[in-house]
Subunit: 335 residues, 2 copies
């Protein structure tokens, strides 16, 4: 059916599962790495991912599951990396050299990879010789829960290789997914990182009992700050880029406003007075915005963009700055 392309997915979480639904709904057979053998067995028995967006049912005949990343990569032409950025390094470091030769990579990661605070393409280039032409990214605004219920969502595929982006856009488009292509690979990745930081901020503001009026000013300020950072970090592209497009402003809005947003929920705990550690414990997870704020802070030491909102969130998360004090500072930045 789809000739030469075989997709392999690395990662067993919500976003990986939503992407798998789109491909299998479009008739693709896929290879899928999920770390835990028991979860694969449950998935095969029940026809759904036992732990994430389990309302999505699959024809498991279309899926070749494996606990081996190497096997999935070798059997596939196009590898979708959908492991949370905080954990992806463990997986990538274990890969044999040369395994990415001739493969196409689609990053579904929303984050910067610690401890070096670099983008996935930068890591893969340095460690696995993955060239810009082999690399693409997929980004929202697209909470997996709404993919599960087939509510119309938009995905953007960004790649230096326009034909690849267009092909992916075709393979992932369904009646409930519209797809857009874009050449701003680095900018779109940084937008996906930044929006999680601002969503933590939106959650904090909500937790501190600011109202709808303030929230709108905060998020407008975040959109402006984000556009400034993106112009600085990906300057060759910026004259042709529309920062109001879904992958920039749209993704920021859904992450800041949607109750599906884990980053907003995390921030809300902080605004209500929880410590960072207690909030993480309460949620039983680390929100992406936590590492993102550190990654952007480190990146900006050399970039020197004007991002006082993101830096205030960083100081709350990593330097025990009081949330009320931080927001008094933010109040005076906004216009």
């Amino acid at each position: 059916l789809h000739t030469q392309i075989t997709y392999g997915i690395l990662g067993g979480g919500s976003w990986a599962t939503a992407l798998a639904k789109m491909l299998t709904d479009n008739g693709h057979n896929i290879n899928w790495y999920i770390r835990d053998k028991h979860n694969i067995e449950l998935f095969q028995q029940r026809g759904h991912n036992p732990h994430y967006v389990s309302s999505i049912y699959f024809d498991v005949q279309k899926i070749h599951f494996s606990t081996s990343t190497v096997e999935v990569i070798e059997k596939s032409t196009t590898i979708i990396i959908a492991i949370p950025s905080a954990f992806v390094l463990n997986t990538l470091e274990a890969l044999p050299k040369g395994i990415c030769n001739g493969k196409k990579i689609i990053s579904a990661i929303k984050g910067i990879i610690p401890p070096q605070h670099i983008l996935l393409n930068e890591y893969l280039y340095a460690h696995h010789h993955v060239q810009p032409e082999q690399y693409a990214i997929v980004a929202g605004p697209c909470h997996a829960e709404e993919v599960a219920s087939e509510r119309l969502s938009y995905l953007t595929f960004a790649a230096h290789n326009v034909q690849d982006a267009q092909m992916y856009a075709k393979h992932f488009a369904t009646p409930y997914i519209k797809t857009v292509v874009n050449a701003d690979v680095d900018g779109a990745q940084y937008a996906a990182v930044l929006k999680n930081i601002y969503a933590v901020g939106a959650g904090i503001a909500h937790g501190l009992d600011y109202g709808d009026n303030f929230m709108s000013v905060f998020i407008a300020g975040a959109a402006d700050e984000m556009a400034g950072f993106l112009r600085a970090v990906a300057p060759t592209n910026h004259t042709t880029i529309n920062y109001a497009a879904s992958v920039y402003l749209g993704d920021l809005l859904v992450t800041c406003y949607s109750l599906h947003s884990r980053n907003r929920r995390f921030g809300n705990y902080l605004g209500k007075g929880y410590s960072v550690q207690s909030a993480q414990l309460e949620m039983n997870m680390v929100a992406e915005g936590y590492h993102a704020s550190k990654g952007i802070f480190e990146k900006n030491k050399t970039l020197q963009a004007n991002i006082p909102i993101a830096e205030a969130i960083y100081k709350i998360l990593w330097q025990q700055m009081n949330v009320k004090q931080a927001f008094k500072l933010i109040e005076n930045i906004l216009t």
Copy 2:
């Protein structure tokens, strides 16, 4: 205390009441036109506006109420016009010629004045010889309900006369109101009109059961379309204007997302299948976005900006276009 400036307010609704709170909290005595004598009596007896944001209590000693617009204008140096745009013409047409001579005007209107579909400054210039230097506007994002509860909000004062804008900004700033100044008088007024149209659209989308993912893409598309219209309608200013500021993007966001938004609520009824007439009956009011969509549609006949979203909302509201069909068109515009 405040030397030469005496504020007079025309209009007895929520927004007028919120603005009166800011001024009286800052120690200003004000003159206030409210049409209905009985409402003035209740206001004076009870210390609050009986019908709008009645949780705001006033020191009524600071307020000179009148059912005469002429009296309020004559006794004041600076007139705040806060009558809904659909009704303001009745009031303005009844004013004697020359009454605005030497007065300053602050428009708190969010709309274009039918039937000519012009801005308030255009009307006042044509009919009362009000010069650009006499005119300013005040705009949100600022739902009156949150002013009542003193939740931090931002107001923008736009004027050709920068010193006036700065003075108003000082007089309205309180611990719960931060104020910003701006010189984009026409652009800021059109932004206030457009955002109500898009908020009707956001309500329709919600009523049609689109999810958070789509909503974010819709509102990002609206922000982009709005910026394009503003660049076309106020071209001399646009290079220095930040369309992510609170008076543009911020006001759009709060109007589209907040449950206080009457335009969103109106749209929601339409999305659920109510006719325009039934929705208006159910709400016992005409949402500003209804007339705004007509005003912008007429204005754009000559301006020719690319505003397919606003035009689709217009067709729903004024030409019986089916909401589902209209949103199928909108789906394909968004990126």
